[in-house]
Symmetry: C2
Subunit: 162 residues, 2 copies
DNA sequence: GCTGAAAATTATGCATT
DNA sequence: AATGCATAATTTTCAGC
């Protein structure tokens, strides 16, 4: 649990960086009416604290990955480590999360066409020992992505704005 | 379908930007043995083409969002638009994807504690007319995130490296 | 599409409040 | 923790290859 000493300014900075991570600190300063040095120090702090990561998010559609599947898996606890390692080695898998007991695994995988996707669910996954696919959904249209997520404003300590 | 004219250099640039989106173009140039101007033009092109987005990804754990749930929903087709709008308005929802017929909806939602999570699944979601939760998994540990995904090397046209 | 050189802008280190 | 200032580095502009 962190003592949260971030404030509205940090929130606004993150909002700008979310739009464009390479925006000049001085431009953020201009936009927010703050000092350039302050902005730069805040950005460094946000990154050092691990509050945000400044990164490049690849657009799968541009590379002709036209479809995706969200899949629930049940893993044999005895083979669990091996299963996770094998899944993490797969380039198709864009997201992998473990459930409470780690028996449940939730993944997202990306494919160029429905053929590849179906093959993955019907052949590739079942070929891994100890795996059971308990449910899945083909999700060709993603409306909100994880990298767009923001905490609530109130998660940033104090506020000058109403 | 794009004619893919990106090459290894673009792949390497994306790899660097993924580690740090604010790295100086001249430093990438140094690392990759290329010209600074070339790097900057490539970055601009990658962004203009929509191949990558340079952004700030917030770390939910830092803001005390300790747990998440991946949820499958079935939506009444007649109320579909309203349902999607209501879901997209929720700050908790970090990911929302539609299935083939859009009847299936797949979401991820984030919470500060399991109580809030359970309340969301047991009370908040069911209170929306036309929604049925068909499956869910609590996923406190995310091992790979969508923003870390990369296409295969061969998705970048030509290659100078073996 | 890549690179060079000068001008403009931005980032950094140090010091002050 | 925020800012001013001097210096270093980077980005931009305009050009030629």
């Amino acid at each position: 649990m962190h003592t949260n000493f971030l404030d509205t300014l940090d929130y606004q900075i993150i909002t700008e960086l979310q739009k464009n991570a390479r925006i000049a600190s001085s431009e953020i300063a201009r936009l927010l009416g703050a000092n350039e040095r302050t902005i730069r120090k805040r950005i460094d702090r946000l990154v050092d604290l691990g509050a945000v990561r400044l990164t490049a998010v690849v657009n799968p559609a541009y590379f002709n990955y036209a479809t995706a599947a969200d899949i629930f898996i049940e893993a044999d606890p005895q083979l669990e480590e091996d299963i996770i390692a094998r899944l993490l080695a797969m380039q198709e898998i864009s997201y992998l999360a473990l459930g409470q007991g780690t028996k449940e695994i939730s993944i997202e995988a990306r494919f160029k066409d429905n053929g590849a996707l179906r093959d993955f669910i019907r052949a590739v996954l079942p070929s891994i020992p100890g795996i059971k696919v308990t449910g899945y959904a083909l999700v060709p249209r993603i409306l909100r992505n994880i990298d767009e997520w923001m905490p609530k404003q109130e998660d940033f300590g104090s506020f000058s704005n109403p």
